[in-house]
Amino acid sequence: MQYHTPSSFDDAVALAKDAQGVTRFLAGGTDVLVQLRADIVTPDVLIDIKKIAGVSDITREGDGWRIGVAVTGAEMSEHDTLGKEWPGLVEAMDLIGSTQVQGRATLTGNLCNGSPAADSVPAMVAAGVTVTVTGPNGERKVAVEDIPTAPGKTSLEAGELVTAVHVPARGKSGGDAYLRFIPRTEMDIAVVGCGINLRLDGKKIVEARVALGAVAPTVLLVEEAANAIIGTELDDAALEALAEAASAACNPINDKRGTIKFRTHVAGVLAKRAAKIAYQRAEAAS
């Protein structure tokens, strides 16, 4: 196994482009190192990107945020303003693993691991987060929902890596929330996850994005679910329509973590509960 610590993204790209065999980028390592130790994936080339300048910074980018690819969950949770503007996103990241894992795990790693159950990903999709992808052919900006393509797979080409995470401006009267279902209270993988971001005009929802995790091979951005609450004041009928649309979008599997029936039902339950929280937050921000 080769282990590299490039000092720039260009160097990282060059290393990845020329790498032979299984290549992994190493940020927090909470998936890569676990998979290595568990004998699931043994990379031939490991490219540690933590030595690149700026990767641990959370910086203003217009009225939004740029989050470095090695910023940890703990750093996001302890940031002064990020969590005030995007509580759903920060809470989603904070749900991952233990206190120790929070000291290592990153948004980018959670995204690039490609798990349909990744907690931060539905929250990012709901928030409209984009990422910069850098590769041998330069840079491109990609919506988070377009990164995962299947369990464990992403749309990143050989030699490409995510080099920054861009969180949009919060704007006025907006609120987001993320809820997941696990049978325990922590230290578990989402059986269903739901991120909702919305904006109000008065009491009326004028914008909404609803994302579901762990109910399909990739994260789902469910337009029908958003449409069910846009134009409403989140009354009971809107909530029921939201739940129905969320459940209808599900395409889950039966596995050790949950059944198709259970996941489909609970997706609707979580959508309702997350929408209420996002709505309250948007009202509070109005």
Partner: protein, 750 residues
């Protein structure tokens, strides 16, 4: 003073919440556990395991693995003893597969190499050719006529004619006329229940360091609940003389019954003998789940008749237990514990031990009893509800007492079930109001407790302190409680006693730390060993004073004349007697060896409040109270710890823990991420009430406490969840999908 008298009051050290002597070492990382031992020239081992649930082993080709640089030796079944029979053969078959792999994860070969990574890589290079056979993992399916036969001829003579060969043992007990009993009842409830296998979930994986030479003399360091048992089994597996293998028990990171068996120790010894090097073998968590000894899974039918006043007129239970691909599922314990709390005129219980393609079950804290309580206590709860009766009143009305003929035969001596029920009834928890969405459940539970072969030595040092050597690995703070009992007898401070878990060369045979026996049996032996030392001390004082030995008493760490007639002498403190012991007759050592048979049975009553989210099926245990008879709590803090630990494990078993097998017979969830034991935030503070009804069979009245605490939780939680959800849950774990499915069934079918 008589040396065998019972002491029930005026304790000075016993009953105090002293700190455990091993505590600082454990929290500072100094304590040495199974994987902490190293030896010069040590090799590392890895085990090759079957990916198939059931397969004939056609061929094992080790040539590629042997060719890998760093590989020093490979063993297969051919490297172990031949000609074993009965239980020893079963153990060997489980440790290293013979002609067939019998479950996913069954060991088929093992490699020793110069590093852990080389060993792991080499294990992948061992080529095993399998002929895959049909498999079965479910207990009911394993009994069906079309089930694949796991091993012909494994059944013993108890099994009735016409049963499937996978049914290997049968049990029947009870008394009275159950049909007449059911005819007397105003209401009869009959139902079926299932529980999935669970793992003890000890935090420390099995680990050992083995050294065995070509001369068949060896040393073994391992994490175990009983090193004499390891010594005996390993000697048999490897064809050694038992005394030539010295076994030392490491500190132990939990066992709960699962470390009463051997899995890797014979393999490490075989590799060491083959390579002539020390060999270290440490299991991964996945190996622990796949290839150690989880508990049995069950399928149970219960029928109970009750009068309108709550009198139980008859009880009947059928208990089918799957214990893996070997005989041994503890179905007789399930059957015997099922109705043990109740005074029944008519009772019958039947048990079946069934083999399936799963790992060989091992003991798990009161093996077999928690499942029985789940089934029986669920039906009693249902009867109480339908007849409008208070569940504690009904249990008090039917409770076993001294003189009751137990459901499985014996007549009870002094027992404390009624006292636990009364304490539960008067506890504020039982009358506290419930919130919307919450339900309350109660349950009783029973465990036998055990004595077993025990050998203890207490050697006095010249300064008047004492070295206590016991042979039962300390799995629950027993070094503290042993030292407390010795201090009580010697009349010296607790801190002046050092308790050591001695190796197999140091004491006579000690049975495993199981059956809640340690504080009872090693404690009894410690008291008797201390009394033997005191007798010598008194004799030395008598000789010095020139009076009769019987005229000397021992009080507060001093020898004294027994009265004015004995003569007037100043008390002789222990340190004066020990300083001169070399000149007054030699070292002073008390010892005791016996198989004590007066273990007192123990009962408990648990109260649980649970809250069920009917939209997601999620359960939260919001309040939990354990009431249990300890006989006498030597160290109340550790007794409470045992009470809480049993409840915590029970909460996991009841709600989310389970062995999940795929259609292919492979275990799907062999990591803690997906084998869902409760995390700290899943548990409420667990309240405890220690009831003390002394056991007549122990000098201080000790009953075992370690196991009974896991007997009621499955039932108590099931009753609470069923009351909260408004639907009876009959299958464990009561995971969210199962609860939602039960609610949906009820909505559809009324």
């Amino acid at each position: 003073m008589a040396f065998d008298e019972t002491k029930t009051e005026d304790f000075k050290v016993v009953g105090q919440r002293v700190k455990r002597p091993d505590g600082v070492d454990k929290v500072t990382g100094k304590a040495k556990f199974g994987a902490d031992a190293v030896a010069p020239g040590m090799l590392f081992a890895a085990i090759v395991r079957s990916p198939h649930a059931h397969a004939r082993i056609v061929k094992i080709d080790t040539s590629k693995a042997e060719a890998l640089s760093g590989v020093k030796g490979i063993v297969t079944r051919a490297d172990f003893a031949t000609g074993l029979t009965g239980g020893d053969l079963d153990v060997l078959e489980n440790v290293m597969a013979g002609e067939k792999a019998l479950y996913d994860g069954h060991a088929v070969a093992a490699v020793a190499a110069t590093s852990q990574l080389v060993a792991r890589d080499a294990a992948k290079l061992v080529e095993v050719e399998y002929e895959v056979l049909p498999h079965v993992t479910d207990v009911d399916k394993a009994m069906a006529s079309d089930a694949p036969v796991i091993r012909e001829g494994a059944a013993d003579q108890s099994v009735p004619e016409g049963m499937h060969p996978n049914v290997v043992r049968y049990h029947e007990s009870g008394h009275g006329d159950i049909e007449a009993g059911f005819a007397e009842a105003d209401l009869v409830v009959e139902d079926s229940f299932k529980t999935e296998a669970t793992h003890q979930g000890y935090i420390e994986p099995h680990a050992c360091l083995a050294q065995l030479g070509g001369d068949n003399k060896g040393e073994l360091w391992c994490c175990t609940q009983g090193h004499w048992n390891v010594q005996k089994l390993c000697a048999a597996m490897l064809g050694l003389e038992t005394s030539q293998l010295r076994v030392t028990a490491s500190e132990i990171g939990g066992g709960f019954g699962g470390k009463t068996a051997v899995f890797i120790e014979p393999v490490a010894l075989a590799l060491s003998r083959k390579t002539n090097r020390p060999v270290k073998l440490v299991m991964s968590r996945s190996e622990v789940f796949r290839a150690t000894g989880p508990t049995a899974s069950t399928s149970m039918d219960i029928k109970i008749g009750m009068k309108k006043d709550g009198t139980i007129t008859a009880g009947q239970g059928t208990f089918r237990l799957q214990g893996g691909a070997f005989p041994g599922a503890p179905m007789e314990f399930t059957a015997m514990c099922a109705f043990a709390p109740y005074n029944l005129q008519n009772v019958k219980q039947v048990g079946y031990d069934v083999m399936a393609n799963r790992p060989k079950q091992a003991a798990y804290r009161a093996p077999g009893s928690p499942m029985a309580a789940f089934a029986v206590e669920s039906v009693i709860d249902e009867l109480c509800k339908k007849l409008g009766l208070d569940p504690i009143e009904v249990r008090l009305k039917n409770a076993s007492k001294q003189g009751t003929k137990a459901s499985f035969g014996p007549t009870w001596d002094r027992i404390g079930l009624v006292e636990t029920l009364e304490a539960a009834q008067s506890h504020p928890h039982y009358s506290a109001p419930l919130k919307e969405g919450q339900g309350r459940g109660i349950s009783c539970g029973f465990w036998f407790n055990h004595g077993g072969e025990t050998s203890v030595t207490l050697a006095l040092s010249e300064d008047g302190t004492a070295q206590l050597s016991v042979g039962t690995p300390d799995i629950g703070g027993s070094r503290a409680s042993m030292a407390q009992m010795a201090a009580e007898e010697l009349g010296i401070p607790y801190e002046n006693i050092r308790t050591t878990i001695a190796d197999t060369a140091t004491l006579g045979y000690n049975e495993v730390s199981h059956g809640s026996r340690v504080t009872y049996a090693s404690g009894l032996a410690t008291i008797k060993a201390a009394r033997a030392a005191v007798k010598i001390l008194c004799a030395r004082a008598a000789a010095k004073w020139g009076i009769d030995e019987d005229a000397v008493v021992w009080e507060n760490g001093c020898a004294k004349p027994s009265g004015p007639n004995a003569g007037e002498f100043d008390p002789l403190p222990i340190e004066k007697l020990t300083r001169s012991m070399g000149r007054t007759g030699g070292p002073i050592v008390g010892h005791f060896e016996a198989t004590p048979e007066g273990a007192g049975v123990s009962f408990a009553t648990h109260i649980v409040d649970a809250e069920v989210d009917k939209e997601t099926g999620q359960t939260k245990v919001v309040r939990y109270t354990v009431v249990q008879d300890a006989g006498k709590a030597i160290n109340p803090a550790y007794v409470e710890g045992q009470f809480q630990g049993g409840a915590a494990q029970g909460i996991g078993w009841a709600l989310n823990e389970e062995y999940i097998y795929g259609e292919d017979g492979r275990l799907q969830n062999s990591v803690f991420l997906d084998y869902r034991i409760p995390v700290a935030s899943d548990l409420p503070m667990i309240d405890t009430v220690i009831v003390e009804v002394p056991n007549p069979g122990h000098p201080y009245g000790v009953r075992g406490v370690g196991e009974t605490s896991i007997c009621p939780p499955l039932a108590a939680i099931a009753n609470a969840v069923s009351n909260a959800a408004g639907v009876r849950l009959k299958e464990l774990p009561m995971s969210p999908p199962r609860i939602l499915a039960a609610l949906e069934d009820q909505a559809n079918n009324g």
